[in-house]
């Protein structure tokens, strides 16, 4: 799965990311040419020809240069789906309030191979969601009632409980969820919720764990019968 250049694992070695990307790509290819005898299958789409940001982008103007391609209907479905995946809770807004649907539009419209694979899944997946919803309840996904929406998602959202034949929609859901979570938790609101308190320059020595964090890990380590060494 593509992960951000600043994500945790990548800090040691961003080649790990590429390894994962290659794995994800290989998995995608397998799924696309699997037998899928009676299951839902989707046609390949034409690759986007727009220009990328190039090898030497201007960091003072970081707008993605490619045209956005999602239709209004697709954005409505994407917004609704993202908000069910991560419903607003307490101080934490729904994804649609943090620009996640617009980010998904930027993502699937990008002229790069990984994003193209996601585009095939997501554009087809959103259409499938509306079509399936209409067939079941007469309304597009965004307009269906909550119970109907959940009944539909329950068939594709849990990796061990995918309804036979819906492997492709489940693959769509998994990627959509992953992109939604990534987009959400890279915002200041997402950072606050998850507890990321970095990207703050400091002076002097690196302070290390807080007393609370150190006491916690000491208890964990000693609880496992292992020896704790203070940092």
């Amino acid at each position: 799965m593509p992960i951000s250049e600043s994500s945790d694992l990548v800090m040691i070695d961003r080649r790990v990311t590429l390894k994962w990307l290659m794995g994800a790509m290989a998995a995608g290819q397998l799924a696309a040419c699997g037998d899928g005898a009676k299951g839902v299958t989707w046609a390949e789409m034409e690759a986007i020809k727009a220009k990328g940001y190039g090898t030497d982008p201007d960091f003072n103007n970081t707008v993605a240069p490619w045209p956005l391609t999602m239709t209004q209907a697709e954005l409505v479905a994407a917004s609704s789906l993202a908000d069910i995946i991560l419903p607003a809770e307490g101080d934490y807004p729904a994804p649609s309030k943090l620009g996640v649907p617009a980010f998904i539009n930027e993502w699937v419209s990008a002229p790069y191979p990984d994003q193209h694979k996601d585009r095939v899944l997501i554009i087809n997946g959103l259409a499938w969601l509306d079509q399936e919803s209409r067939a079941r309840s007469g309304a597009i996904f965004a307009s269906a009632d909550t119970a109907a929406q959940k009944a539909l998602l329950d068939e594709i959202a849990y990796k061990d409980r995918v309804k036979p034949g819906l492997e492709k929609p489940a693959e769509f859901f998994s990627r959509f969820r992953s992109i939604t979570l990534g987009a959400y938790y890279t915002t200041p609101e997402g950072w606050t919720e998850i507890g990321y308190v970095g990207n703050q320059p400091g002076t002097g020595d690196y302070p290390g764990p807080t007393p609370e964090a150190a006491a916690h890990i000491k208890a964990v380590i000693e609880g496992m019968g292992l020896k704790y060494t203070a940092p």
Binding site: M1, M11, L18, V63, T186, Y206
Partner: protein, 560 residues
């Protein structure tokens, strides 16, 4: 001076090897012309604190920027339009180029592990590969000087084949973070060492460079100078001598010899105008990178000799090596829900696992002849686009899962030694030229059983460590042949012009001086006789400093 005037030395390349040579030579009073194929660059351009959120696609890697939108590499990568390379059938190799002032030093991980006594005499130890023409004792003072100059944090742990630095050389390493302390507890229980890493990052101010301020991914380039790169250190220092001339956009393709067999300079394409130019010097130093240096020599055909320049041994392009890489990652339930604090730290390794199993290699209990180290990554970092990986379902339980699992995953990355083999080399592909009309490199590459066994050792050992700490693998690792990195993928390629003590089976002597041309020196990774598991940059710089010192002496005495 201008690039058109003759200089004392022409240095090809501005990365670790080229910039070190240029600094030593200018400091000794020599005039130096540095030729760099890429554009001028200063880390003042670095997007130090920019958020992923403000970058296209949240900053993930794309074919335009492989290591992410904010990565310092402004022109380069494994695939460059108009600058291809080819591979022999059945071979896969990834050749990274970094076309910019400072080269790869602008974005490297800054991991700086010096080689040890076993590493310089591998053949003596196990009969494989070749020995270096220098011993660890020869190199120790040069490592000390280099580490002190560069600024390396770390600790002296007195471990086998992981030598201590001299007194007062290392800077204080940053404290372990919670997950590193956790790993150490597991490692201590099963005798796998977890010790302070060594990285070229300042924790105390030296000269005009500030210490690390505990934020900003080092790969973006470091405008405060804490993370070492030649564009904030060696190159500006060399400039202050008034002796350095830099020509960027200068794509060197050939070394020029006179009738007596001495090098008189190099030919290059000025990318801005497309014109072919000559740069003249009393000594020529090539540090264009392991692949590019071999390419320049092989494309230089003095008197029409087809084997290329400085190649009477036939070893130019041979002995191509890269680091052995593979990965395992695991979730640790014991790390779930732990108290939050700022774990950015030095944005990379505070701790690592050095190789520990030398005794069992010697006794024959372990069947892989050479070692590796393990780079570890966890932390409460910017959650990034991978935050949802491994999660299931939707709704408020998913929200809770994201928070619970944040910071509980640790990645283990193997970095191991490759032994040179006859199937791994580069040569000139006479059929293919790049956009400049320069014949390109063709790669042959194959791992041997030695490397695959090493991957197995890594997998077994890390599973034992993960198990000891109650972790669960994210996924079962592939078998070694599938789990191992592709050649070149780790971007540690070395060895194509190896140094040695005999002109018959090596390209240069112990000072990087080519046996065939008395005033032609190589000071990059191409001269490595072996590829220890230790990341090569600090050794490239120590060797380059030693070689340049030799050149400076010979320039002063009029020998050159």
């Amino acid at each position: 001076m201008t690039p058109d005037e003759p200089h004392d030395a022409v240095v090809v390349g501005s990365g670790a090897g080229g910039a070190m040579a240029a600094w030593v030579l200018t400091r000794a009073g020599a005039s130096v012309l540095m030729l760099e194929a890429g554009r001028d660059y200063s880390p003042d351009e670095s997007p130090m604190l920019n958020m992923a959120m403000d970058a296209p696609l949240r900053g993930v890697g794309t074919p335009d920027k492989r290591f992410g939108y904010y990565d310092a590499t402004v022109d380069g990568g494994w695939d460059m339009p108009g600058e291809p390379y080819t591979m022999a059938e059945g071979s896969e190799f990834m050749w990274w180029r970094s076309r910019m002032l400072g080269g790869r030093t602008n974005h490297w991980a800054r991991n700086s592990f010096r080689m040890g006594p076993y590493d310089f005499k591998p053949r003596t130890r196990d009969g494989l590969g070749v020995d270096w023409p220098v011993t660890y004792d020869d190199m120790a003072p040069w490592y000390d000087k280099t580490e002190k100059l560069v600024g390396v944090y770390g600790s002296n742990d007195g471990l086998e084949n992981h030598p201590n630095s001299g007194p007062g050389v290392l800077q204080t390493p940053p404290k372990f973070r919670v997950w590193e302390t956790f790993l150490k507890a597991g490692g201590d229980a099963i005798n796998i060492p977890v010790v302070a890493a060594r990285r070229a990052i300042l924790t105390k101010q030296i000269d005009e460079r500030s210490p690390c301020y505990w934020a900003s991914a080092c790969g973006r380039g470091c405008s405060i100078g804490a993370a070492f790169q030649t564009t904030t250190s060696l190159i500006p220092w060399a400039k202050t001598t008034g002796k350095l001339t830099i020509a960027t956009g200068a794509m060197v393709y050939e070394v020029i010899l006179d009738a007596t067999g001495k090098a008189t300079g190099v030919r290059y394409i000025d990318k801005a105008t497309g014109s072919h130019k000559e740069a003249k010097g009393r000594v020529v130093v090539v540090a264009a990178s392991t692949g590019e240096t071999a390419r320049i020599l092989l494309n230089s055909k003095p008197n029409g000799r087809s084997e290329g320049l400085a190649n009477s041994s036939g070893q130019v392009g041979r002995n191509l090596m890269d680091t052995v890489g593979s990965n395992i990652s695991a979730y640790f339930p014991q790390l779930e829900g732990r108290p939050r604090y700022n774990e950015d730290g030095a944005m990379g390794l505070h701790a690592y696992i050095p190789f520990w199993d030398y005794k069992r290699i010697q006794s024959g209990e372990v069947d892989t002849p050479r070692g590796y180290h393990v780079e570890i990554g966890g932390s409460f970092g910017d959650p990034g686009m991978g935050v949802g990986s491994g999660l299931d379902g939707y709704g408020s339980s998913l929200r809770a899962d994201v928070k619970r699992r944040y910071g509980s995953r640790i990645g283990f990355t193997q970095r191991g030694e490759m032994i040179p083999n006859a199937n791994s080399y580069c040569s000139i592909d006479t059929e293919t030229k790049d956009k400049f009309g320069i014949p390109v490199l063709k790669f042959n590459f194959a791992w041997s059983d030695n490397e695959l066994k090493q991957v197995k050792h890594f997998q077994t050992s890390m599973k034992e460590l993960i198990d000891k700490l109650g972790g669960t693998l994210v996924s079962e690792p592939d078998e070694p042949a599938k789990a191992i990195s592709k050649g070149g993928e780790i971007i540690h390629e070395v060895g194509t012009c190896r140094m040695g003590s005999d002109a018959r089976d090596s390209v240069t002597n112990q000072f990087g001086k080519t046996w065939d041309v008395d005033n032609l020196y190589l000071t990059d990774g191409s001269v490595f006789a072996s590829k220890a598991h230790k990341n090569p940059t600090i050794t490239i710089m120590a060797l380059a400093m030693r070689s340049a010192d030799n050149i400076a002496t010979r320039l002063r005495t009029g020998e050159l």
